[in-house]
Symmetry: C2
């Protein structure tokens, strides 16, 4: 545990949590920092190569025991959500092939993140789950059924991390000749979401399910609307096959800060997941999304922004630095470059490992430099950027920040990000698992609680809350009224005639 | 428990199980009857209306507790598998609309059967799971990833019940104008399966995953083959994204006794699921599938046939008959007719409830009569068939047999089916759940064990076995050599050149 601690100077327990210390003003009236554990059903997620560390269990994710132990740990710590990334293909930008992605286990192989959820839900009460799924590869009706089932069986503890998918490899695996063009992909995803709202929000009245044994009637069919959607990309004619789950629409996460991505996020996302080495670089993107949301009549503060961060925690700064040095020896240089190349679209294999990266010798150097500039803001001491130096960064924590230090040091850094980046919380990546998450639970969260910026564990007697209630407060199980999906709520649409909802986008 | 019991006249414990009593010769060298519990993530499965029975918990399937308790029960009884049906739309043949399907909860609403599996797997060791999924609605790559994940996380305890889907309502929900024509559907499904074999069997060598920390190498990419499939219905270019799971290909179940369906089953199925009121009516269909399998070089006995049956068990015949009478009062007449109409394609709403069904007053009467003929073989005492009488049958146990009696009576009847129908086991449906399954575990299975025709529970120290090993014996984790999928095994295909497998069906 931390050797020193600062007691809150002033507490205000009116909301049943620790009070807020004035020294820990998080800005914009925020009371708490939201902490998600960021994992992926793969061997090397943001930190490739650490499977070689005897302390790491990332290569045991094919067994249920891994997920059950992780869920127990996160529940014990009061972690907000387990955020599970997913992808449908490997990274093949580096050398233009998959070989090193496969060899270094750089997000390879990958299992389906949906499968272990019920085992984790069965042994937890407060932990929630954010599961990644793409809008590009399956009919909305199937996804609607799956997420409604997840939301039922977890008592409303499910979020969906919406991805539109961009990897060429994934499209080749799915039987589509080439990735859909970027902006088009978001237009398609927008329609996909509207079809889902119609199914989740618009198909069943809250009163449809009304068991009436005397009349042999379990459901009143006149309170179920058939969704007749004929759009540009999708059409269907069916009622939703699952009765309303606790949240109806799962809590919606989304990543994407491109122009089209930001409009989509500002329209649909309740939680936004961003990644960047510097809070100041991130800030304008966050401002832009909040502004766009505001223009659509949404409360800009209702969008909760989560930044990736991979802290390396010790009881003291010295211990953390030693841990960092120990971890570095397991990092995969090539694995880091495979991910870097995949994320940036730059095949960095063309520059030899110890050659300095300059504009002169690399046609795409302007892209490299902008990425490096971001790195540099946190690593000003590095005089010469080479692929090997890039790899040292990219193989621990990906492209996100890696604060190294005591709980106080890391908490200070996270608070700085909250204020400077206007973020609401973090997706905390691991270097070793569950080791990094144990440090979050045993070192970081207690320090945040001491500062009054993290909620206490709910009591045994407290009712479990849905994902949305954890973020917006007790009672807010469904979409907020200012969210685009609320336009599709059953009662809102009733005047448009019986059993028909028209598509948003007219068929060509 | 049973009041009388017959000890086996002769035992032969060489295989570690109870010996086989000569009085209980099951034919074809069979030692055991395979018993699956047959359920569906819906309120009324084969017995609509029983949600009204205070003893029934079928309306609690949206909660994980239902599945966890059911799994514990089936594990305690040594049930072979939990077989989970699924469908993608409601039954709309009756009156040409969904209203009564919805009102009577006749397989409506329906959640995704995949979701609760890991919660059940976490608390069981020997129970296996057969999950229904369609070949018509999602890319094979996604299904391959999901089932490989299921097989990993359950330690090889997963089977797939392959359906090709026929409901118009499902196709309308999925965004396809109309169901694919029947025979075409099976041709498409055949190619779908071959793509899956390539991914599951042909993509990864057993030796590809070979952690070598000294060389920063987790997997040897030269032992992973990219599947390049260009077929009539599907194409993809990708390696399988999941390393080989315990069974690689999940144990393959299939239903379908039409001509095209039988060829498909004889080619791909390891377990076949059949439904019929009479063993003698079933027998020629079973003979035909075994014959077709033999023509393809498969051991006809390696196909395990499961018949639906919904026994109503009491400690005595009298108690069982009383239970049957009690259950009948909860059956939904209209719900039964909704299912009957859906399964047979006959809108029986056109005949009034108490009118006798004759050829004269019903254009599709020849179809009705053939279904009735099957009913009649077990209900000869019924002089006059009306929709109400049909409903009485269809609302308890669907179109399968409903043996009513003591464990001895029901076991006799099941043995008769095994011998006369040449079936290997049963998918046992419920009238109330978990009540009907408790009777199977506490009354029927002990009686079958007394007869030496059901395996004893494995001991604490016994290793868990995969689905395929439970059926074919210890060691047979993968597809048998005589199965079509074995042609796609990694080593078999190696001579065809590096990293390429050609499609079976040439692109048009």
């Amino acid at each position: 545990m931390a050797e020193t601690q600062s007691a809150p100077a002033e507490t205000n327990g009116a909301d049943g949590t620790n009070g807020v210390n004035r020294e820990h003003d998080l800005g914009f009236g925020r009371k708490h920092i939201l902490i998600n554990a960021f994992d992926m059903s793969t061997v090397g997620h943001l930190s490739p190569g650490h499977w070689k560390n005897p302390k790491d269990k990332s290569a045991t994710k094919r067994k249920l025991e891994y997920w059950i132990e992780l869920a127990r740990l996160l529940e014990r710590g009061g972690v907000n959500a387990l955020f599970l990334a997913d992808t449908y293909g490997g990274y093949d930008t580096y050398e233009g092939k998959l070989d090193d992605c496969i060899r270094r286990a750089a997000q390879w192989p990958i299992t389906d993140p949906t499968i272990p959820i019920s085992a984790m839900a069965a042994i937890t009460k407060n932990l929630t789950f954010a599961i990644t799924a793409s809008t590009s590869f399956e009919p909305p009706y199937l996804l609607a059924k799956r997420f409604s089932t997840l939301d039922h069986l977890t008592d409303g503890r499910v979020g969906w991390n919406i991805v539109t998918s961009w990897k060429k490899a994934a499209f080749k695996a799915i039987d589509l000749d080439s990735p859909i063009e970027h902006d088009e992909r978001y237009r398609q995803a927008d329609e996909y979401l509207r079809v889902l709202y119609k199914l989740w929000e618009g198909s069943w009245s809250d009163f449809a399910l009304n068991p009436d044994p005397a009349n042999d009637s379990y459901i009143n069919p006149s309170l179920i609307r058939t969704i007749n959607h004929k759009g540009k990309y999708f059409s269907l004619a069916a009622p939703h096959i699952v009765d309303p789950s606790p949240q109806r629409t799962p809590f919606l996460f989304q990543a994407g800060t491109s122009t089209a991505g930001s409009v989509f996020a500002a329209t649909h996302a309740e939680g936004i997941f961003v990644s960047g080495h510097s809070a100041s670089v991130l800030r304008p993107k966050v401002d832009n999304i909040r502004r766009l949301a505001g223009e659509q009549g949404r409360d800009p503060r209702s969008i909760k922004v989560f930044a990736t961060a991979t802290p390396i925690l010790g009881r003291t700064d010295e211990e953390a630095r030693e841990k960092h040095q120990e971890l570095l020896q397991y990092a995969s240089v090539i694995g880091g470059l495979v991910l870097f190349s995949g994320w940036t679209g730059i095949d960095i294999s063309k520059i030899s490992l110890d050659q300095e990266i300059t504009e002169a010798d690399y046609t795409e150097a302007h892209k490299v430099r902008s990425v490096l500039a971001a790195f540099t803001t946190i690593s000003k001491e590095i005089p010469k950027w080479t692929p090997r130096v890039v790899a040292q960064h990219a193989s621990i924590g990906g492209l996100g920040p890696v604060p190294v230090g005591s709980p106080q040091t890391v908490a200070d850094e996270l608070e700085r990000w909250v204020r400077e980046g206007d973020v609401d919380g973090f997706n905390i990546g691991y270097v070793t698992t569950p080791g990094s998450f144990e440090d979050v639970v045993d070192l970081l969260i207690p320090e945040l609680r001491r500062r009054g910026v993290y909620p206490e564990l709910p009591g045994e007697e407290d009712e479990a809350t849905t994902v949305r209630e954890k973020v917006y407060g007790k009672g807010q199980r469904g979409l907020r009224d200012d969210h685009a999906g609320s336009r599709y709520k059953y009662d809102v649409y009733q005047e448009e005639g019986p059993n028909v909802l028209e598509g948003e986008v007219k068929a060509k």
